[in-house]
Symmetry: C2
Subunit: 352 residues, 2 copies
């Protein structure tokens, strides 16, 4: 190893879900099957490329204002970043400086421990209960911060606002992050608790419910004090994270509430119908409130089904990890995509 390598920060990076280049039925990374608001296309059609020669607004005010308006918050309560991953990474860097371990579930978004490792933050992964629910009592111990995804991924299970509040009540000295990437598909947001808890940070994204995974827009909402600390670190990292086009795309999307609601409703409807189909095929699954279902089959191993589906150009997600290695995480696609999935599953399960 060369001398310069000694002090390199060595990490085990997060591995994102596959992005196949061929045309497949893609139910593996929880994208939205519907296009973004037609207003986004209008932004593109009317955009003068000459504008791009100038730096963007470092405050991304147009985007922040649109979010503030939609969420009923003030502008100083909102922080935006390059996807909620960027927002969460910056939050870990900003808020988790204690020597005490931060806490999050053992089965959850697999980026949390990656960020903790990257920033050398001590952490404890709290085992989910047998039924894959979060045990609130487990979060009543000394800690340097807490991250709760609600609903959780890949389980899809949502915790009640009362449960979230109990965590906040018992942890006034920790920053508590509620990661609400999937909240729009049927979970109560912790936003309602913001007026009461200065240490609460709620993180959401445009990637799922707003069909803009390809634009990279995430945001955090919290007390002005929390947001101000987050901004200080962000401005110490990169002043201009949001480019000119993305600011306008995000604004246009956030302003189109009727379209947003319509697409979310369609996905929720398809999800509930998909649950019936899975049941019919002999799957068991957790009660997902997200845009995916985490399902297991009694007669055929998840890894086998996963590979067989891939053969048929249908991509779902499989995690080869303890406790969840017999589950498939299936993103809710269009009704047509799901029909093709179930037809394929029916065929595959005949071998069971």
């Amino acid at each position: 190893m060369s001398g310069w390598e000694t002090y390199v920060r060595k990490v085990e990076p997060y591995v994102p879900g596959e992005q196949p280049k061929r045309k497949v039925i893609k139910l593996n990374t929880n994208e939205n099957p519907y296009p973004p608001s037609p207003r986004v296309q209008k932004v593109l059609d009317g955009f003068d490329a000459e504008e791009l020669r100038l730096y963007p607004d470092p405050e991304a005010a147009d985007l922040i204002e649109a979010i503030a308006l939609e969420k009923g918050l003030s502008k100083d309560q909102i922080f935006v970043g390059v996807g909620s991953d960027d927002v969460l990474a910056m939050s870990f860097l900003t808020f988790f400086g204690s020597d005490k371990p931060i806490l999050f579930p053992d089965i959850t978004y697999s980026f949390y421990d990656v960020w903790a490792e990257l920033f050398r933050i001590p952490y404890v992964q709290i085992p989910l209960q047998k039924d894959f629910r979060i045990c609130i009592e487990d979060y009543k111990r000394e800690n340097g911060g807490i991250v709760i995804p609600n609903p959780n991924a890949p389980t899809g299970i949502a915790e009640s606002l009362d449960a979230i509040e109990e965590i906040l009540k018992t942890n006034p000295d920790s920053v508590v992050i509620i990661d609400e990437a999937y909240v729009d598909f049927g979970t109560k947001s912790a936003l309602a608790l913001l007026p009461k808890y200065e240490n609460l940070l709620v993180v959401q994204t445009f990637s799922k419910s707003r069909s803009l995974a390809g634009s990279r827009i995430g945001y955090a909402m919290g007390s002005p004090k929390l947001i101000s600390y987050l901004n200080d670190c962000k401005y110490s990292f990169n002043s201009y994270t949001m480019d000119r086009l993305t600011i306008q795309i995000g604004k246009a999307s956030m302003e189109d509430t009727p379209y947003f609601k319509e697409q979310v409703d369609r996905i929720v409807e398809t999800r509930e119908w998909a649950k019936e189909q899975l049941r019919r095929l002999g799957f068991t699954f957790l009660d997902s409130k997200a845009n995916f279902i985490f399902a297991s089959h009694a007669k055929m191993a998840a890894a086998v089904i996963f590979a067989a589906l891939k053969e048929k150009d249908i991509y779902v997600r499989y995690f080869n990890k303890p406790r969840i290695d017999n589950f498939l995480r299936i993103t809710i696609g269009t009704k047509e995509e799901m029909e093709r999935l179930f037809a394929a599953l029916e065929e595959i399960l005949q071998q069971a």
Copy 2:
């Protein structure tokens, strides 16, 4: 102070140059006065917003391939990020883990010490010589890494490739970053040294010479080993930093070499003409090889000229810092913008 605030990472953030919302002559943040390649507009005009519902390619392969082709490198020698600030921040985080201080000039891009503070990296700011040149001998001491901007900002002074190579020769155990944000305006790139030095990282940007400050695209070039370490950290921070539109915009721009050269030539021509004008008006200035000139007037304080220009809606940059507080950094605009600047200066200097 609340309990949760104790462990917040507290920093003094970088303050970017003003982005006025009114129409002004904007010569304060080194943007390019010409629009990006017409191919960028074509990307926008032909882009189907529905594509944005899917995550982008985490490897940004289209963009990386275009850069590799233009620079004569292989794909595994290139890293891209959200502006060169993102690339540099990630490089500081990845490479500067030693307890020994990293070295960079005292008068330079004011983000270097901000990143060092953010990541708690020890650093020493090496004073530039009286003539504002870098003294190569000063970089022959124990260190945990080196950052050399070439040409330097805000001075605009370029160092020779021999000088850069001497730093590399004497520092085989440090990662040496050459920040070439302004290299296209007349400095030899350290790219020529890449085959010889595994520890050399060359950072460039689309913001200045490619008129895409508003799109946020920067890139680093180095040995496959260096780039691989950088990617590991990047994938541990945010898998998808480059959005779908930006990848295509950057590709289109990088592929239009004739347009790029034409605009750079125009700016260099205007810069050399501007030097004559400044001389005529009694300014002294450093020999800039960048798209700005760092100038001082014997009879009127820089702060006074700065304020007077602002009154006339002409924005230049003023740094209220030791040794450079009698200088103005003037971005090279179009010939017309510069003519209006000089007319304004002529008027202002009549009060001197």
